[in-house]
């Protein structure tokens, strides 16, 4: 069998990605976003987190994805990015 040439079946492009923001040394004075991805009981987890974070005097904002089965819409990601310093996403079941 002679030498042969194969063609690459992949997309040959990395999906665009961005660096994560550096993790803050402390949460003092930060606004924390809590993202519920709409899985059952995710709210139970996030309610408790909100209670604890607010108890430490932190600003907390709540967000919800319309459905857990699709990526968060661009405007929701933008909203979180512009309003919060850190975000906690709840995966639950």
């Amino acid at each position: 069998m002679s030498e042969r040439v194969l063609l690459d079946p992949t997309g040959e492009r990395e999906a665009p990605s961005r660096e994560r923001a550096p993790r803050p040394a402390s949460l003092d004075g930060r606004t924390v976003g809590l993202l519920d991805i709409s899985k059952p009981r995710g709210d139970v987890f996030l309610d408790r987190l909100e209670e604890q974070l607010a108890g430490r005097g932190l600003q907390v904002r709540r967000f919800t994805k319309p459905t857990f089965s699709k990526p968060a819409p661009v405007d929701l990601r933008h909203e979180i990015g512009t309003q919060c310093d850190v975000v906690i996403e709840a995966l639950a079941d």
């Binding site: 040439v5 079946p9 665009p16 089965s69």
Partner: protein, 348 residues
Amino acid sequence: MPGTLTSKRYKVDDAVGAIDLCFEKGWTDGLPVVPPTEPAVRAMLDAARLAPDAQIAYIRDRAMAVTAEKVAINAVMAGCKPEYLPVVITAVEAACTDEFNIHGLLATTYFSSPVMIVNGPIAAAIGMNSGINVLGQGNRANATIGRALQLVVRNVGGGRPGGVDRATLGNPGKFTFCFAEDETGSPWEPLHVERGLTPDASAVTLFAGDGVRGMVDQLSRDPESLARSLAACLRAVPHPKMALGFDVIVVVSPEHGRVFREGGWSKSRLRDELLALLQLDGDDVIRGAGGIAEGLPEGLAGATVPKFRDDGLLLVHAGGGAGLFSAIIGGWINGPGGSQPVTREVRP
């Protein structure tokens, strides 16, 4: 078809080296693939009269176009004949619609994956199986068309287990799950006609399905009994205490189909009867009922809950002539928030 193939090239010494390279690069589903050489890919594109750079679909979540060249390369690897390519192309188009939501289907921890049903004259023209062992192995067109879609998902879409694919258990249909409906022997109109296309059109329907669960009823000889029997089995999709979130396909075999034909039941009659039989008593299916924590919210106590949404029950006729069985293929999350069945015409 003119046009330059622009994919990156890899040189190998021989056929074994070619197969090994595909494994090393992570391009396969775990089984060997046919090495995608330029002549093979060209033959594939020529058969479908497609330019290599023709855009078949766009993957929004990866901001990436899927070109005919990439689909053809993956179809060669899957073992497709050139004449299968139009079906593969149609399946890729259908998979990349917002309605089908292939990204979510792949990213879920659930079992499901695309199940492909082919209707119309192209099925017989390319030698697809709609008869004996229809959901099993042994037919090149069924096996390789379904596999080609999975390889496109893997290689172009990035859907690798542990990457975007987060399935807890998966299912063997993720190698390939593609079959043709037996239209000529069916007591009913075929799936693509029910979904709005003409009988002479060829079509692909994609459904986000899990595996095949067998359903046995060897004693029912009247449609009322067989419908009750089917309903009893459908109650377990995906759990007897869950409702409305999952669609389902029932693949009705010829011997079960005969019971409905002889009883004079149309497809819509059977669907209506099944939906009526599958009205659940909320008290039986709420959380904690029957000593089972899983179930619907407690607020549904006293209510009647439909097991399936009205258009959530797909009926397809296929299989060998002997055997009083049908197959149940459960879905994944349905509706706009999950995956909707998508039917697309195969363009000649």
